[in-house]
């Protein structure tokens, strides 16, 4: 792989993700005002002191957007990493052990996937107390069902190959087979899946926050900012659209990179067409 082979769309995606991550890391340096400081009138138009205007309480929209990048990306990333760890370990264990364990995990996974993710999250969050780690955990567990399914399919494909057979015959343990034989050979499709899950996590977290069940105020996060400012829409105030656009842009950027990764995977495999 060389740098020149990366298409322009993937470059746009990478640049967008890099910008968002920079905002997240250096939020206190970049933001002109504090996250929770009321600095002006309510819903002031863009321009002047406030580059993007102010929100429903008179806080600077740009500053909250930059701090919001921090919360949104951190929570979405934590949920994705956790869901991947969970889904991968369980799916590889199911694929390697087979038999009863495989059946048990797979049937339970089917049951979890039979309930729509958002509905499941609503039911569970109605009971659980509102803490950040609980939110991350719920998102991760719900997402890990998808990871489990794809992980198991990929691992089963690889698990029947000769080199795995050879490792098994020379007496390696399950852990060795998982980490040294299967994982390196499934990395490329899994990387694409990771990106896809991350984009989904961003959207899911934003949706939950928008419904008032995600990150709780006054912490800034993009979905919650849409919720805060949605009443302004009727008066023609676009404050709610700015964080919405930020979510959309980040998700598009991630998807552009994923699209490229997937095409790369399928062209590595060779084959006719790009399906």
């Amino acid at each position: 792989m060389n740098v020149k082979s990366i298409p322009i769309s993937a470059w746009i995606g990478i640049a967008g993700i890099a910008l968002a991550i920079l905002c997240a890391i250096f939020a206190p340096v970049l933001a002109p005002y504090g996250e929770r400081d009321v600095v002006g009138e309510i819903w002031m138009p863009a321009g002047g002191d406030f580059l993007l205007g102010t929100d429903n309480l008179g806080r600077d929209l740009l500053s909250r957007l930059i701090y919001g990048a921090r919360t949104t990306i951190l929570v979405a990333l934590a949920a994705t990493v956790l869901s991947f760890a969970l889904g991968m370990i369980l799916s590889f264990a199911a694929a390697v052990m087979g038999g009863f364990v495989d059946q048990l995990f797979s049937r339970f996974n089917d049951l979890m996937m039979a309930i729509p993710t958002l509905i499941f999250a609503l039911v569970v969050l109605a009971v659980l107390p509102q803490h950040l780690w609980i939110l991350i955990l719920v998102m991760a567990v719900l997402d890990s069902t998808r990871v489990f399914r794809i992980g198991r399919a990929v691992a089963l494909d690889v698990a029947v190959m000769e080199f795995v057979e050879a490792a098994r015959l020379r007496g390696e343990g399950s852990l060795w087979i998982i980490f040294r034989e299967i994982l390196p050979n499934t990395l490329s499709p899994l990387l694409a899946e990771f990106g896809l899950r991350f984009a989904f996590s961003i959207l899911f977290l934003s949706t939950l926050s928008f419904l008032g069940l995600g990150i709780q105020p006054p912490a800034a996060d993009w979905g919650g900012m849409v919720k805060d400012n949605k009443d302004g829409i009727i008066f023609g105030i676009s404050a709610a659209l700015v964080p919405g656009a930020a979510i959309a842009t980040l998700a598009i950027c991630v998807n552009l990179v994923v699209d490229w990764l997937m095409k790369r995977t399928s062209s590595l495999k060779g084959g006719r067409g790009d399906a």
Binding site: S9, D110, L111, A114, I115, P116, T117, L118, I119, F120, L122, V123, V124, L125, A126, V127, L128, P129, A199, L203, S206, T207, F210, L211, G212, L213, G223, V226, K230, I233, I234, F235, G236, S238, A240, L241, G244, A245, I247, A248, A251, I252, V254, N255, L256, D259, G271, R272, G273, D274, A275
Partner: protein, 370 residues
């Protein structure tokens, strides 16, 4: 495909009725669609004979039974799983500062002092008969509320499906026709962007443009009983547009992938190589094989639509099931949450089942396990 003597009697129902059955001899022959079926819940010989005579009906009945079983498991999960989670309803309901006496009173009031298995059975018994109990917050009948709102939600989803399905299939075919050329690339980029847009962003964008700046649409999308059909339709124009945009990109991409998958198969290549025209290839070779995956795509997306309704209803303040559920979640009104959760899950499961069955009907190859 299996050889003649095995598939023969299975596929022709009329012939199977005339030929004398020898269940004992045939028990080991892989004539039945699924060996596991023989050990089904019904009486062995009867069920086996039924599977042998009407394999398709048996397969569909099996899927139906599976879905009902799944729904039962889901109900157990929605009720039992929620019970198993930490956190006491009464305490969360009253807040941290509630006195133990008040907590005790409200527990007794809501019937939480009884064991959960007993409550689950009462709840399930009621749910089967369409009675979901009374809301904790408003003390109204949950079923009554849901009865009004479910119709509204289905109304919304129905019109969204009516517009998005033909549009998605058409655009998907267009993309395949111009594969890797300009129209395909444009459709690809736009649909990729559309997938990444959150529902509420699309919704507010449409409100901003069409309701606020142009003034051609109404917001909020309130509907009430005395409205005429045209008034209702104009009220739901924006929510339907939002749902269509949300589901269209997904459906189109999946349609494109499904058709491309067929188009890149060996027999289409053969047809191409022996010099058949494009139209003939599509009509005679590709289309019959692409019907099953496309139907599957549509059914899956309709299932997705049912859930997508939740956010759109909140955005447009539309009096449907989704809004009811979200409101109940914020005040932790558990009977409402559980009832809505079960109904949404039921729609989701049965639409997925419909996708399964339609795929089997459209593609005879799926009737035989490999």
């Amino acid at each position: 495909m299996e050889s003649g003597p095995i598939t023969g009697p299975v596929l022709t129902d009329a012939a199977a009725g005339e030929t004398p059955l020898r269940p004992t001899d045939l028990s080991g022959v892989p004539a039945k669609p699924n060996p596991a079926l023989a050990a089904g819940e019904l009486d062995g010989t009867f069920w086996r004979r039924f599977v042998f005579r009407r394999p398709l009906t048996a397969l569909i009945l099996q899927r139906l039974g599976l879905s009902v079983g799944l729904l039962f498991a889901v109900s157990l999960m929605i009720f039992g799983g929620v019970e198993a989670l930490p956190g006491d309803f009464a305490t969360t309901y009253l807040g941290q500062s509630a006195t133990p006496q008040a907590v005790e009173n409200i527990r007794k009031d809501l019937g939480l002092d009884r064991p959960w298995s007993e409550r689950y059975l009462t709840w399930l018994g009621g749910a089967v008969q369409g009675d979901f109990g009374t809301s904790w917050a408003s003390k109204n009948s949950v079923s009554e509320q849901i009865g009004n709102r479910l119709g509204n939600s289905l109304f919304l989803a129905f019109f969204a499906a009516l517009i998005s399905v033909p549009l998605a299939v058409g655009l998907g075919m267009l993309a395949v026709q111009f594969r890797n050329r300009m129209p395909d690339k444009i459709i690809n980029v736009i649909s990729l962007a559309a997938i990444s847009l959150p529902e509420f962003f699309i919704g507010y964008l449409l409100i901003m443009v069409f309701a606020v700046q142009l003034g051609v649409a109404t917001f909020p999308a309130t509907v009430y009983d005395s409205m005429t059909l045209t008034e209702r339709l104009s009220a739901i124009a924006l929510p339907v547009a939002t749902l269509v945009l949300v589901v269209l990109a997904h459906m189109m991409r999946m349609t494109r992938a499904a058709i491309l998958n067929v188009m890149s198969s060996a027999y289409v290549e053969t047809a191409e190589l022996k010099g058949l025209g494009t139209f003939r290839i599509i009509a005679r070779h590709a289309a019959p094989n692409a019907v099953a995956p496309v139907i599957n795509v549509i059914a899956l997306n309709l299932a997705y639509l049912v859930v997508g309704v939740v956010v759109v209803e909140v955005v447009f303040v539309y009096p449907g099931m989704g809004q009811y559920m979200v409101d109940a979640v914020t005040v932790r009104d558990m009977p409402v949450v559980q009832a809505c959760g079960l109904i949404f899950a039921a729609f989701y499961i049965f639409l997925n089942m419909a996708a399964d069955i339609l795929a089997i009907l459209a593609n005879p190859r799926l009737r035989h396990p490999r």
